[in-house]
Amino acid sequence: MADAVLTEGLGKGFRGKRALDGLDLAVAEGSVLGLLGPNGAGKTTAVRVLTTLLRPDTGRAEVAGHDIVREPAAVRRAVGLTGQHTTVDDILTGRENLVMWGRLYHLPARAAARRADELLEQFGLTDAADRRAKTYSGGMRRRLDVASSLVLAPRVFFLDEPTTGLDPRNRGEVWAALRGLVAGGTTVVLTTQYLDEADQLADRIAVLDGGRKVAEGTPSELKSRIGGDRVDVLVRDAADLPAAADLLARAASGPVEVDAALRRLSAPVRDRVSALTGVVRALDDAGLPVEDIGLRRPTLDEVFLHLTGKQAAPATTEEIGVPA
């Protein structure tokens, strides 16, 4: 299958600072790529370069088969963009916002109005359609913003942190809309700080750090690298930490992290439920009082730390067996 997005050694600097430092990406047509990375990783810069808003210093890129530097107009006809900051116009109503974008996509007035109605309906904004966007909640604004990029189904749709700040219901609505687009053949590149978002939507995930790709794979490939779920234990008495860590290590599939200040232990486990029950029983048998114990998914921080090979930064965290 052809690549909808292809970059080779893409680089962009801001006054000597390398925001992108030789980025290589290939996104198959009709697939979803999640660009994951911490603040300042270069996610927004990558999106801006690929949507022709910034010129790269080095390397090359093609979007929908067009070179981003030599054929920017063709690229703009093929892409949709929802930026990190919403572009919703507060003074206009929701409907007026959508009609305006429709007109700028060169739809005739009637078609723009009809399309606006469809999008309002699809994003659950029909009731608020004739209210000024100033009165919208954060989630409604974000939905309006995404809707305004979908006036024409773009061939390649870039979204920069589309659901940051949304509650789970609103996030679900944005996701559903994206799935519908992908079903229609659109390629999606979305940046996110949420692992579960990439997990839900992306066929492949590329992890960025310092302007370069530090890992890439399907969500399950990446998760298996970090060892899946984690068991967290909060002990009542800090003096019990070493003993509890020993017990936890027996059920763990990786190193146990100790946060002495919070009296907390954390370790990756493979078999979720049996690992959890095993740890509970062992702690109980040893008579170690715990305040809380639970299973959770790895956080982006943990995936990120794991993938970049960097040690956990906080001074309070140390790995068992390595004296502080």
């Binding site: 010129r55 107009a73 572009t87 206009l92 700028l104 739809l107």
Partner: protein
């Protein structure tokens, strides 16, 4: 998912889309302005305050060269000052669009590339017509009159709007260059520009080196020309400076020079905004 239009409508020629897209943007800018009356009030309140302050408080101490009523002398200066200060509003709105990512969004669209800046300039010209109407009304209230006939008055209004049009491009360029915080201070450099001119007093009454500066200030050319066209001053004295004697020519030339410099700068800057 409901029906999705997947094919972009056929291109109908660059000029057609430039006009149509510019109008869509201008309409949005005008709606902002109509629905946000506080902006209108602010843009009119400031010059109105100046008219009252200079027309009645300081004005009594100012002598008009060759005699004549000070408020007659003052009003053309006020008109021109409002035209120039309008650029501060342009800077603020352009910078706000840039900060909110609207500019980026426009630039990522397959729309006419010049439409956002053209649309902005159209909206601001319409805006300044209203500013002028209010100021003229205020002038009539305080005793200012147009004595030069209809043709003269229309030419005067045309020159004022030409100055405003030129300042819009300075404003768009500045708005794209500076941060949103700095945009709030755009009036600061504009203010002395309108003061070191013949707005309030004749340049010959300004101290030392300020006189020639005021003489050559583009605003002074417009103000002198407008005073002549409205018949607010007598004929320019033979010993007046070259700039003053050729004010009519300069009132056309200066704005054109400003547009020739700042329009391309603004469009270029827009195309690579924040790059």
């Amino acid at each position: 998912m409901t029906t999705v239009i997947t094919t972009a409508p056929a291109d109908g020629g660059a000029l057609r889309w430039t006009l149509s897209d510019s109008w869509v943007v201008a309409r949005r800018d005008l709606l902002h302005w109509v629905r946000n009356p506080s902006v209108i009030i602010a843009s009119v309140a400031f010059p109105a305050m100046f008219v009252l302050l200079f027309g009645f408080v300081f004005g009594s101490a100012i002598v008009v060269p060759g005699g004549g009523d000070y408020r007659e002398f003052l009003m053309p200066g006020m008109f021109a000052q409002a035209m120039v200060n309008g650029a501060a509003a342009t800077v603020a709105t352009v910078a706000a669009d840039k900060a909110r990512g609207v500019t980026d969004r426009f630039r990522s669209m397959p729309m006419a590339p010049a439409a956002p800046v053209i649309g902005r300039s159209v909206a601001d010209v319409v805006n300044s017509v209203l500013d002028l109407v209010v100021l003229v009304g205020l002038g009539l209230l305080v005793g200012w009159r147009a004595h030069g006939g209809v043709a003269g008055a229309l030419t005067a209004v045309g020159l004022l709007l030409l100055l405003r049009f030129a300042m819009i491009w300075v404003g768009i360029w500045l708005g794209l260059v500076v941060s949103q915080e700095a945009a709030g201070l755009a009036w600061a450099p504009l203010f002395p520009l309108t003061m070191i001119a013949n707005t309030f007093v004749h340049p010959s009454q300004l101290p030392g080196w300020l006189g020639p500066l005021a003489d050559w200030n583009p605003i002074s050319a417009t103000v002198t020309a407008v005073r002549e066209l409205f018949g607010n001053i007598g004929p320019v004295a033979a010993q007046a400076s070259w700039a003053e004697r050729n004010a009519m020519l300069l009132a056309v030339a200066w704005p054109l020079v400003i547009v020739a410099v700042f329009l391309p700068l603004a469009v270029r800057r827009y195309r690579r905004a924040a790059a």
